[in-house]
């Protein structure tokens, strides 16, 4: 892109919002998107000496703690390699919670930026989810290392993981759009979500196996859409099995609905962001 060519036109009469225009603007700003992701990652790791390795250290430490706690103190019967059971569900779950939570702060942090230059507003949630995605992928390196060390078999079904990741990321992006837009308008959304996410954590079989849930409560786990969606990532790693096709399709549909709703609400509310940020 050289200098004095193709003038960018701003014409307030013709720049009404449309989804197509927003998507095009995001694509045109791909370079900015990459810079936002890079900024997220650099800022997060800058001050720690071990830098990017922190992402990998985190699951390692978690594993050690959990093995001590759950393999020796609270025992779940019939769960072999508990630490792998846990991590294979927890890593995608953490990606979901961290990205959605950060998308809320990211939008208000970038408020100053949005007041200085015209940028597509959806770009901030997208970049947050993207940097979370990078962390998610990195976190699987120590997971596989742990599996090798602990002698848990890594089966070819792990090749399904990219599909699982894409579905989970799409779902996460939709929720991020929704929450970050609401959080601009309402101060208490972030706090409420924090409380809600604790409930969600125990309603999702991440830390415990689903079999230990008493019969009368199992519906609670079942109606939780997260249960199925995270199974997509756990099954191929922990059980060495591909998820059933109806679970894949159902989760993919859920992800698309989440994205559509999030996108719609975000862009509906984003017109008033300026007055609230």
């Amino acid at each position: 892109m050289s200098t004095m060519e193709t003038p960018v036109l701003i014409n307030s009469a013709t720049t009404k919002f449309s989804s197509r225009r927003e998507i095009r603007a995001v694509i045109e700003n791909a370079n900015l998107l990459l810079n936002l992701v890079r900024r997220d990652l650099t800022v997060r790791y800058k001050r720690s000496i071990i830098g990017f390795f922190w992402t990998m250290l985190n699951p390692l430490v978690l594993m050690i703690v959990l093995t001590i706690v759950f393999a020796n103190i609270f025992r779940f019967e019939g769960v072999s390699h508990y630490e792998i059971y846990f991590l294979s569900g927890y890593l995608p779950y953490a990606f979901f919670i961290q990205s959605t939570t950060q998308s809320m702060t990211s939008l208000s942090w970038n408020g100053a930026l949005m007041k200085r230059v015209r940028v597509p507003k959806t770009i901030f949630a997208i970049s947050t989810v993207m940097s979370g995605f990078v962390n998610l992928c990195l976190a699987y390196i120590p997971l596989f290392a742990i599996m090798i060390v602990r002698g848990a078999p890594i089966r070819p079904t792990v090749l399904f993981l990219p599909v699982a990741f894409v579905i989970i990321a799409t779902f996460t992006l939709g929720v991020s759009f929704l929450l970050s837009a609401l959080a601009v308008y309402f101060d208490d959304v972030a706090q409420m979500y924090q409380a809600g996410s604790i409930a969600l954590f125990y309603m999702t079989p991440v830390i415990y196996p689903i079999d230990i849930v008493p019969y009368e409560y199992i519906w609670l786990i079942r109606i939780n859409p997260l249960t199925q969606i995270f199974k997509l990532a756990r099954d191929p790693v922990y059980n060495g099995a591909l998820p059933q096709i109806h679970i894949v399709v159902g989760s993919a549909l859920l992800a698309i609905v989440s994205l559509a709703v999030g996108w719609f609400v975000f862009n509906r509310l984003s017109r008033g962001f300026y007055e609230h940020l």
Partner: protein
């Protein structure tokens, strides 16, 4: 005749403010919803039927009291807010608004912020690296450029911001009170650069309370009062009028 770079036609804008401060909580909103009591919205006029044109290479000064609508006008020109009525047409690439606070990332170094700010305007890392030396030397930050921004003084930050904004080859610069920081020597340097830009066809909107700078830099001035154009025209004339109104109260 060439089309004007910035053209406002009967632009009006207002902000909607909740009468009881901001509508702060979702809980409150839900309760209101259930009680079917709508929050009262108050309209605050930001701009009222403002029309003007700025030609290529011209510098337009905007003066007026706080809350007169100057910053809203800049934001409409930058395409950040959509006016409620009227049309604003801008022909050319607009640099990010330069204002106090600047929006730098505190944890990143000066160098990283330069690349990041370039990305805001669609400039690639490589393009910014090519301009790096020039930006750094103009900002006089050679020794600090690899330090995080949080270690910079206000003067250093403003020098960097000015240096970046003027190095991205934007065709339109929007300056909000930026020349009031930095020492006199740097201010003079900035003024020289602005002059240089104007000679090269860069169009400038300059918001300032510092009337001497306005007088020095601008071809034309608009004096805004509660969102309306109170007086418009040749710099000296408008500033004199403004002074007169101040002295008579």
């Amino acid at each position: 005749m060439k089309e004007p770079t910035i053209e406002f036609r009967e632009v009006s804008h207002d902000f909607r403010v909740y009468s009881e401060g901001r509508m702060a909580s979702l809980k409150e909103w839900l309760i209101r919803r259930i009680k079917r009591r709508k929050a009262e919205l108050r309209r605050v006029v930001a701009l009222d039927n403002v029309s003007f044109e700025v030609g290529q290479g011209q510098a337009l000064g905007l003066i007026g009291h706080n809350g007169a609508g100057k910053s809203s006008l800049l934001r409409i020109a930058a395409g950040i807010i959509q006016p409620r009525a009227g049309t604003a047409v801008v022909r050319g690439l607009v640099a990010p608004i330069l204002e106090l606070g600047f929006g730098f990332e505190q944890e990143l170094t000066g160098r990283e912020n330069i690349v990041f700010n370039g990305a805001l305007l669609g400039r690639s890392r490589q393009e910014m690296n090519e301009r790096m030396e020039e930006i750094v030397s103009f900002a006089e930050l050679s020794n600090f450029i690899d330090q995080p921004i949080r270690t910079y003084s206000t003067g250093m930050v403003s020098r960097l911001a000015f240096s970046i904004a003027t190095a991205v080859d934007a065709q339109i610069l929007l300056l909000d009170e930026v020349l009031s920081v930095g020492d006199e020597r740097f201010q003079r340097k900035c003024a020289e650069r602005i002059d240089h830009f104007r000679n090269n066809g860069v169009t400038i909107l300059f918001v300032s309370h510092a009337l001497p700078s306005v007088e020095m830099l601008c071809d034309k001035v608009i004096w805004l009062q509660e969102g309306r154009v109170q007086c418009e025209g040749e710099t000296k004339h408008v500033i004199d009028e403004y002074h007169r109104s101040m002295s008579t109260g």
